[in-house]
């Protein structure tokens, strides 16, 4: 209807819109935003600030006691349990970030290539991702049973995988890879679909095919998406808690007790909310620092080949 409107009439209409929106906007915005702002303040902003404040106090789970300055942080940097938990967290990340991204890429390439069965293939890879964590842990626990588990039937041993100091974390990592790789596949698949067809057609005219196409077109085009996938996966991996808590409760000998597990124990088992808040702050610092580092690296790389 708009294209047929004479210019003068249209200007008047636009003025009317601008006027009426300016008049009613404030009140409507207040009405529409009040629910969100209330919930946001109560359940995000206030807790965020409170985490920082608590970390400067000596507090129990329900009671805030004396202000102690940076004492909790001083304790933290000399706490071997904290560093061990951070080490375990990074070990888990090492075991998951690259494999999840590489396997996700392989799956995305397969789904992208075999268009006739892509619904089924994508479904098989993605299905575990929509299931609750405890479905994964229950099945993993059953498959990993020392004498009746199917894994030991296949490999022909009696290993108690989840109680083994060397095997516990890798096995948790494997369960996690099965459970979450679908998401990485999905992201990378979206990246693949965004690559313009003409690039492939032009390269094919030049005689490129097979792996050359991947190396010269797919990979350079996909690299930013792979970078994002790696970072997102790193952050998700650092936040590991449920898998180890349910499957091993941090054992054997605390070899799978990760940072969030240590924070949970400090707060809810030992009722030391002040110290737990300091752990939370340190954890946030690590996550934010890595995100910033990633952004910085990207800028450097982008500056090198514009």
């Amino acid at each position: 209807m708009k294209p047929f409107m004479p210019t003068r009439q249209r200007q008047a209409a636009q003025a009317a819109v601008a006027h009426s929106s300016r008049r009613g906007d404030g009140r409507s915005a207040a009405l529409l935003l009040t629910p969100f702002v209330t919930l946001f303040l109560l359940f995000f902003l206030a807790p965020a600030l409170q985490t920082f404040y608590l970390s400067l106090t000596e507090s129990s789970l329900t009671r805030t006691n004396a202000f102690v300055g940076l004492a909790n942080y001083a304790l933290l940097v000399r706490d071997p349990s904290f560093w061990a938990s951070l080490g375990n967290t990074f070990y888990f990340s090492l075991l998951t970030v690259m494999p999840l991204t590489a396997l996700g890429l392989l799956m995305a390439l397969l789904v992208h290539r075999f268009t006739r069965v892509q619904g089924w293939l994508q479904g098989a890879f993605f299905l575990p991702y929509v299931l609750p964590i405890s479905v994964m842990t229950l099945i993993a626990d059953w498959m990993l049973q020392p004498s009746t588990g199917v894994i030991n039937q296949i490999v022909g041993g009696q290993t108690a995988w989840l109680a083994d100091v060397d095997w516990a974390m890798p096995v948790v990592a494997l369960g996690t890879i099965w459970w979450t790789v679908g998401f990485n596949m999905l992201m990378l698949l979206a990246g693949l679909r965004n690559i313009p067809r003409e690039l492939y057609e032009a390269a094919a005219l030049d005689g490129a095919r097979g792996f050359t196409l991947f190396r010269c077109i797919t990979w350079p085009q996909l690299r930013p998406v792979v970078g994002t996938a790696l970072l997102l996966q790193l952050i998700v991996s650092l936040k590991i808690f449920g898998q180890t808590y349910i499957l091993t409760v941090g054992g054997p000998f605390n070899t799978t007790r990760v940072t969030l597990h240590y924070m949970y124990e400090t707060a809810f088992t030992h009722s030391d909310a002040g110290y737990a808040a300091a752990i939370a702050m340190a954890f946030v610092a690590v996550v934010v620092a890595l995100s910033l580092l990633h952004a910085l690296l990207r800028r450097v790389v982008a500056g090198r080949n514009p």
Partner: protein, 277 residues
């Protein structure tokens, strides 16, 4: 004609696909095979891939004993409430951020987007204390409320609204519609797809949430499925046919939702990851 190298790649691809798809489906199929046996077969010294005697006993016992049906009900209730409230709150906020001009808009939106950066896990202790003060520990309200603050959903809706041509709004305002009316009868009807996608993703996320119920729930009757399934040793003992039946029953609703709405689900997850609208 196909080049030999191309054919070789195709063969490698087919082998990889079959292998990986089989590997990825195997745990679920194995759980199913376990759940369809009588309990004594799961501790039998002789290994069998398939049940010797097929039976639904494990499912019957699981549904009859313990709180499994209660956990399913709790999950359905909590996930539905979280989804409905998140959609209502986020649509309103996103529309205000996208289309209305008011003081403090940029500041407020920036603050909301801060929540992207801060992991929810860092808020657990103060959130628990807040719930304690409000007397909401171990309650449905306590389970639902912290889950409805979702900056990602607001961001996705705002992006979508930003892309709608201003003509739609102009036409409605010329007809004398106020801002709320415009949201309701102009913006919502054309946002059906994205609202659907985000609603399904929010529902699956809330259904699967483990961490928050783990913190806030203190009694067996208030547990949701992800949490309850970790308590099954107490409910059913170490009986793997029943445990696998319970796991499959807990997986069924979300698995079914995915099977029915595969495209919406993938679209929603992609939008939520901030990569694609």
């Amino acid at each position: 004609m196909k080049q030999p190298s191309q054919l070789a790649w195709t063969v490698v691809g087919v082998v990889c696909s079959v292998l990986l798809a089989g590997l990825w489906l195997f745990p679920l199929l194995w759980a199913l095979s376990t759940s369809l046996r009588p309990e004594h077969e799961t501790v039998s010294a002789v290994f069998h891939w398939l049940p010797r005697v097929w039976t639904l006993d494990a499912f019957r016992t699981t549904l009859g004993a313990g709180n499994l049906t209660r956990w399913l009900f709790n999950s359905a209730l909590v996930a539905s409430l979280v989804t409905m409230i998140t959609m209502a709150v986020s649509l309103g906020a996103a529309y205000a951020f996208s289309q209305l001009r008011f003081r403090g808009r940029a500041l407020l939106f920036g603050a909301a987007m801060l929540a992207f950066l801060l992991p929810f896990e860092a808020l657990l202790v103060p959130l628990f204390r807040t719930m304690n003060v409000l007397g909401l520990i171990n309650s449905y309200a306590g389970l639902v409320l912290p889950q409805v603050v979702s900056p990602v959903v607001i961001y996705v809706f705002k992006q979508f609204f930003d892309a709608i041509p201003g003509d739609f709004r102009e036409a409605a305002v010329m007809d004398g519609a106020g801002p709320l009316r415009v949201l309701w009868s102009v913006y919502l009807p054309i946002s059906g797809n994205i609202v659907w996608a985000m609603a399904i993703v929010t529902f699956i996320g809330a259904w699967n949430n483990f961490l928050w119920p783990f913190i806030i729930v203190t009694s067996n009757e208030m547990m949701t499925i992800p949490l309850g399934l970790t308590q099954t040793y107490d409910a059913f003992g170490v009986r793997y046919a029943q445990l696998m039946a319970a796991a499959l029953l807990g997986a069924l609703p979300v698995g079914l939702a995915y099977a029915l709405f595969q495209r919406r689900v993938t679209q929603g997850f992609l939008a939520a990851s901030g990569l694609k609208g």
